[in-house]
């Protein structure tokens, strides 16, 4: 790519310098380090790789990380749509504050979120007390992972759905109403289909972030192997046991899955642009 780079005549200076800095920095900080995971995985040999990447403990960890991330992303699609709808369609006091608070999970360090959620959802916490009285303890259980990932993922859905809701033309809704549709029918048959691609993008973003999430999860999850141990934690455990090959193999699987999600996201983007056109 850098070699093939060819600029169309532009009178501005600095093409070589700026592109040079970009590619150098990208290679040093991101590309070369990331390639280490793949090179290391290959050099360990297929059988070593497979034994670590597909061990029963690793499979249980992937299942929890990706399963909880999918469930949390689905919850966020419902509530993210609700919050996005309210922010775009209604004017009420406190709207700006509500909008500002949505980005809290981006700004609050994950470890802080982790200990705060644990304090809330543990048996001694305000919410945990109610939940365990109802026979549904959350903290130190797989359900705790879902709670943490739901916290982390909300802004991804709200921020992707908002602009699309704002641009939705009222003419289509008017037409549906004229044709005798109820408000609910208009929502499910007209509005929902037009924001479906944005919702799918929000889901994928929240899912990708959740699957790799570590800081907010480890405090509230029980971290018991096979039960409540997420994949990123298993990587750290392997590293602490000096099992570099094991850690690398699991990291490799996680990277491949996140690249697949990234590809899917780009396809979604393509789909949205074609629909808009």
């Amino acid at each position: 790519m850098p070699g093939a780079a060819r600029r169309r005549s532009s009178p501005l200076p600095g093409f070589e310098l700026s592109l040079g800095i970009t590619i150098l920095w990208l290679s040093l900080i991101v590309l070369i380090p990331l390639s280490a995971v793949f090179v290391r995985s290959v050099s360990e040999g297929w059988s070593t790789f497979w034994a670590a990447a597909a061990s029963p403990r690793a499979i249980a960890a992937y299942r929890l990380s990706f399963g909880a991330a999918a469930l949390a992303a689905a919850i966020n699609c419902i509530f993210g749509l609700l919050v996005g709808w309210v922010l775009v369609r209604y004017r009420f006091t406190g709207r700006r504050l509500l909008s500002a608070v949505i980005d809290l999970p981006f700004a609050l360090p994950t470890a802080v979120a982790g200990i705060a959620l644990t304090a809330l959802y543990a048996d001694t916490g305000i919410i945990g007390r109610l939940l365990s009285a109802a026979g549904m303890p959350v903290a130190y259980k797989p359900a705790g992972v879902v709670v943490a990932l739901t916290f982390i993922g909300l802004p991804f859905v709200v921020r992707t759905v908002e602009p699309v809701l704002a641009e939705l033309s009222s003419e289509v809704e008017e037409a549906a109403l004229t044709l005798g549709a109820t408000r609910l029918q208009t929502f499910s048959r007209v509005i929902l289909p037009s924001i479906a691609p944005a919702l799918a993008t929000g889901f994928a973003l929240a899912f990708a972030r959740g699957a790799g999430e570590y800081g907010s999860v480890i405090f509230i999850a029980g971290n018991v192997p096979f039960k409540s141990e997420i994949a990123p934690l298993l990587i750290i455990t392997q590293l602490e046991e000096y099992n570099y090959a094991g850690a690398t193999a699991i990291a490799c699987v996680m990277l491949l899955i996140s690249f697949a999600v990234l590809l899917l996201l780009n396809l979604l983007q393509h789909w949205r642009q074609r629909r808009d056109a």
């Binding site: 790519m1 093939a4 780079a5 060819r6 169309r8 532009s10 501005l12 200076p13 600095g14 700026s18 592109l19 970009t22 590619i23 920095w25 990208l26 900080i29 991101v30 380090p33 990331l34 280490a36 995971v37 290391r40 609700l82 709808w85 309210v86 922010l87 700006r96 509500l98 500002a100 608070v101 949505i102 809290l104 981006f106 700004a107 609050l108 360090p109 994950t110 470890a111 802080v112 200990i115 705060a116 304090a119 809330l120 916490g125 919410i127 602009p163 008017e174 109403l177 990708a208 790799g212 570590y214 800081g215 405090f219 990123p232 934690l233 590293l239 570099y244 990291a251 996140s258 780009n266």
Partner: protein
């Protein structure tokens, strides 16, 4: 057809707003409040003792140093990347943008692991580094590298759409009037992008100071030496010293609140200057 028939009945509207506020209150505000309540559970004196204790102070210093090194580096990179991508046409541009955003889809733990594979004792350069008595992993350079990786896309991602939307007309005019390339950048481009740049730096800094997973892998968790604030929170929490853990966490929460406030002010006051960035 009146506009009123396009709206939900007032009751439905009130219910929807109530539900949204209740959900955000339960999911986001309550955890935020919990940090502050827990931090002050034993009063201000206990809070002050916890945040002014030697290891806590050292973690604050380390967090500031790591951010002071990594944020400017990624800011310079972000400006360079945005200049190349937005002012010129070249093949592979879409791929380049995708690669710049790559760190967002990598698990923080993997972001730290990659540097252990390169510079750790069993890593590619491990033996060489050891022979020359250079420490990267379990030391400041490792913390900086991991932070650079996770905060890599923030400034670039903010500036690329903004500068693309602004085009090159202003710069071309300045050059025609005899300004040099650098003069054009400092006097024309930089003032045009200053709010977008500030926005990107703000988010980059919040992530740099709050990063946990990636630095956790490379830190070695030596108290008073390689623990950043989030790592110190974890260490105190695992000691069951909850008041101290939440006290240090409350400082990070303050950082988050300030970040959100500044971000909101930028969004309200300079919506148009940021317009293309969203």
């Amino acid at each position: 057809m009146t506009a009123a028939s396009l709206r939900e009945p007032p009751v439905a509207k009130a219910l929807l707003i109530g539900a949204a506020i209740a959900y955000v209150g339960l999911m986001l505000i309550l955890p935020l409040g919990t940090v502050l309540v827990e931090a002050l559970r034993k009063g201000w004196d206990a809070w002050w003792a916890a945040v002014s204790e030697a290891d806590a102070r050292s973690s604050i210093r380390l967090t500031l140093i790591v951010a002071a090194i990594s944020v400017p580096l990624n800011t310079v990179f972000g400006i360079a990347a945005a200049w190349a991508v937005s002012k010129f046409h070249f093949r592979g541009k879409t791929a380049l943008i995708a690669l710049i955003e790559l760190p967002f889809s990598v698990s923080p733990v993997v972001s730290g692991l990659v540097f252990v594979l390169l510079f750790g004792a069993q890593g590619w350069f491990g033996p060489w580094l050891e022979a020359h008595d250079i420490r990267i992993i379990f030391a400041l350079p490792g913390l900086v590298l991991a932070t650079l990786f996770v905060t890599f896309p923030f400034v670039a991602r903010q500036l690329i759409p903004l500068m693309t939307a602004q085009g090159s007309a202003n710069e071309e005019a300045a050059l025609t009037l005899g300004a040099s390339g650098w003069q054009t950048f400092w006097r024309v481009t930089l003032p045009n992008i200053r709010f977008g740049l500030l926005y990107g730096v703000l988010l980059c800094n919040a992530r740099a100071m709050g990063e946990f997973g990636a630095v956790s892998v490379v830190s070695g968790h030596i108290r008073g030496e390689t623990n950043t604030m989030p790592l110190q929170v974890e260490a105190l929490y695992n000691d069951y010293d909850f008041v101290a853990a939440f006290a240090v966490a409350s400082l990070l929460t303050l950082l988050a609140i300030v970040t959100l406030a500044l971000k909101s002010v930028l969004e309200w006051r300079h919506r148009r200057a940021l317009a293309a960035a969203h």
